[in-house]
């Protein structure tokens, strides 16, 4: 009898989830399955060859392809530099902002502002900042700071400097995001903990080590994960600032995947690359889950 009453609610609930479900199935799950399937074939648009099942052949190819390995290396290097840099900077900014000072909100706004800038625009602006010779602000700034010792560089066309330049651009744009997350976490630490610590005789440094950091643990893990995944997705800046150059110094997984699929129409190869990308993201997510669970087990 109660069933009949519930029938109506079941129907409504299904209607409520239906549009979202269709969207997720059609535009996330299906393409994801397609990615895995296509990566096992030889699909190449406009190719006269018949569609064939190749097994892991594409994976073998990309893992022996110098350019892709270079892209993999660049992506990891980029993540390795930017994650500690951006997290550290975000934490420092959050700590600076989390002080009862007059006008502090203005600084929060300023630090956060680049987050609302599209990466494409940011990339274009920073191309000028990295301009070679004395025309580039960065070059002339470094010249002044080093009292003329600095030799102007063409950052974006220098194999050693191109990736760091992209890193700097990305940090400038993105650090406000992480700062705000950490700031919220900082502000949710109960003031009583600090009062208790002060009564117990902890100085400022000890309060930071024994209260702030442990209380921020989950937020920090989250920020590190998000930053890492964002780092792995690196594409816009590369496409606009360097096109992967010079000599593959800034090419990334996504840049190669898009290039394979579009510039050379090798859909299967591009799909295999995105599957590799997904596996990396998945591993990172699992690592975060593991770290968070570990803490829950301890607590």
């Amino acid at each position: 009898m109660a069933d009949q009453l519930h029938k109506h609610e079941h129907l409504i609930a299904r209607l409520f989830v239906l549009p979202a479900l269709i969207g997720l199935l059609g535009f996330v799950l299906l393409p994801f399955a397609l990615a895995v399937t296509l990566s096992l074939t030889n699909l190449r648009l406009g190719s006269p060859l018949p569609l064939e099942f190749l097994g892991v052949e594409q994976y073998r190819r990309i893992f022996t392809d110098y350019t892709f390995l270079r892209a993999l290396r660049n992506t990891m290097l980029f993540a390795l530099i930017i994650v500690p840099l951006q997290t550290g900077l975000a934490l420092s900014l959050a700590l600076l902002i989390n002080q009862p000072l007059r006008g502090i909100v203005v600084f929060r706004t300023v630090f956060f502002m680049p987050v609302v800038f599209p990466l494409s625009l940011v990339s274009v602006v920073w191309v000028l900042l990295f301009a070679p010779g004395s025309a580039g602000l960065l070059n002339s700034l470094l010249e002044i700071v080093s009292f003329g010792a600095w030799q102007p560089k063409d950052f974006l066309h220098d194999t050693a400097w191109a990736l760091p330049a992209i890193t700097l651009t990305s940090v400038w744009q993105g650090v406000g995001f992480q700062m705000v997350i950490l700031l919220a976490a900082l502000q949710s630490i109960p003031e009583e903990l600090y009062q208790a610590a002060r009564i117990d005789g902890a100085n400022r440094r000890q309060q930071f080590v024994f209260i702030t950091l442990p209380q921020l643990r989950n937020a920090l893990i989250f920020v590190v994960l998000v930053t890492t995944i964002l780092a792995f997705r690196l594409f816009d800046q590369v496409q606009i600032m360097t096109q992967g150059g010079p000599q593959y110094a800034t090419t990334t997984i996504m840049y190669e995947a898009v290039n394979a699929a579009f510039a050379s129409q090798q859909v299967a190869k591009g799909a295999a690359m995105t599957v590799v990308f997904f596996v990396l993201v998945l591993l990172l997510t699992l690592l975060q889950r593991f770290l968070l669970r570990q803490e829950r087990a301890v607590a």
Partner: protein, 278 residues
């Protein structure tokens, strides 16, 4: 709490101002560059003194429109982004509500699926998805830039966790007052869920307004391309005229900055929520 000494306070302010400049200068360069004669931009870019344009003019802003269909890009971006945000709010909030508050068979399994889908970023499916929409004949349309992004697992999750904590008595009171589930959602729950709607709207807006990879993959005509592709194309369009590029940039970011200034509190809260929920 102990009062900080004047010296410490001063030091903190100096650090803040120094850092603030790092964040502001690139923006100011863009702004002042957009007011300069094209040839002066590159010459003066190397010095901070060049931040103040000698003879400010709006010449560049006029140039942009004659060289590229800026208004077209702006309209496209606005149309695409607002369609995604608005339909996304509706579709994802309804789903989040059904997962959080309605009873129906299969709910938990589907919820688990949605949460699992959260970890698949666009990049991981971009190539096959573009192949898929090519087969459907959707390339180079508004539709192809909107439809795939309406349903969003993370938005559903944000709505879901908000509605989980929503006071049950309000819904029960409404049921007793005679409202059905649809009416309860639209008349009682949604009007009291502004924070989560704002959060989702802002996060969706930020992602979509800057969207670059996807439109690059599936569009080629100016008629449907959004601003980020516009500036990338403009930047490579010879002759390289920095003043024009910056004018384009300023016009591209001003609507966003206005929105940001008006709803700053919500922007920051919205971003902060992602950390709390994640």
């Amino acid at each position: 709490m102990k009062r900080k000494s004047l010296l410490t306070t001063l030091l903190i302010y100096c650090t803040l101002v120094g850092l603030g400049l790092i964040f502001l200068v690139p923006i100011l360069i863009m702004l002042s560059g957009s007011l300069k004669i094209d040839t002066r931009v590159l010459i003066e870019a190397g010095s901070l003194a060049g931040l103040v344009p000698e003879q400010p003019s709006l010449e560049n802003y006029r140039d942009v429109s004659t060289r590229v269909p800026f208004i077209r890009y702006l309209v496209n971006s606005t149309l695409i982004t607002s369609s995604i945000v608005l339909t996304g709010l509706l579709v994802n909030s309804l789903a989040g509500y059904a997962f959080a508050r309605l009873q129906w068979p299969g709910r938990d399994a589907l919820l688990f699926t949605v949460i699992a889908l959260m970890i698949i970023p666009l990049e991981a499916i971009a190539v096959p998805l573009s192949y898929q929409v090519t087969l459907l004949g959707w390339r180079d349309t508004y539709l192809v830039q909107i439809l795939p992004f309406v349903a969003n697992a993370f938005s559903i999750y944000l709505f879901y966790s908000f509605f989980l904590d929503f006071p049950k008595e309000l819904e029960e009171a409404a049921r007793i007052d005679g409202a059905g589930p649809v009416r309860i959602f639209f008349s009682v729950v949604a009007p009291n869920a502004k924070p989560v709607f704002a959060t989702v709207a802002i996060l969706t807006f930020l992602t979509q307004w800057g969207s670059f990879l996807w439109p690059m993959m599936v569009t080629h005509s100016e008629a449907v391309r959004p601003l980020p592709l516009g500036i990338a194309a403009f930047y490579t369009l010879p002759p390289l005229q920095w003043g024009d590029i910056f004018a384009f940039g300023v016009m591209m970011i001003v609507p966003v900055l206005l929105l940001f200034m008006a709803f700053q509190r919500w922007f920051i809260r919205g971003v902060a929520t992602t950390g709390v929920k994640g």
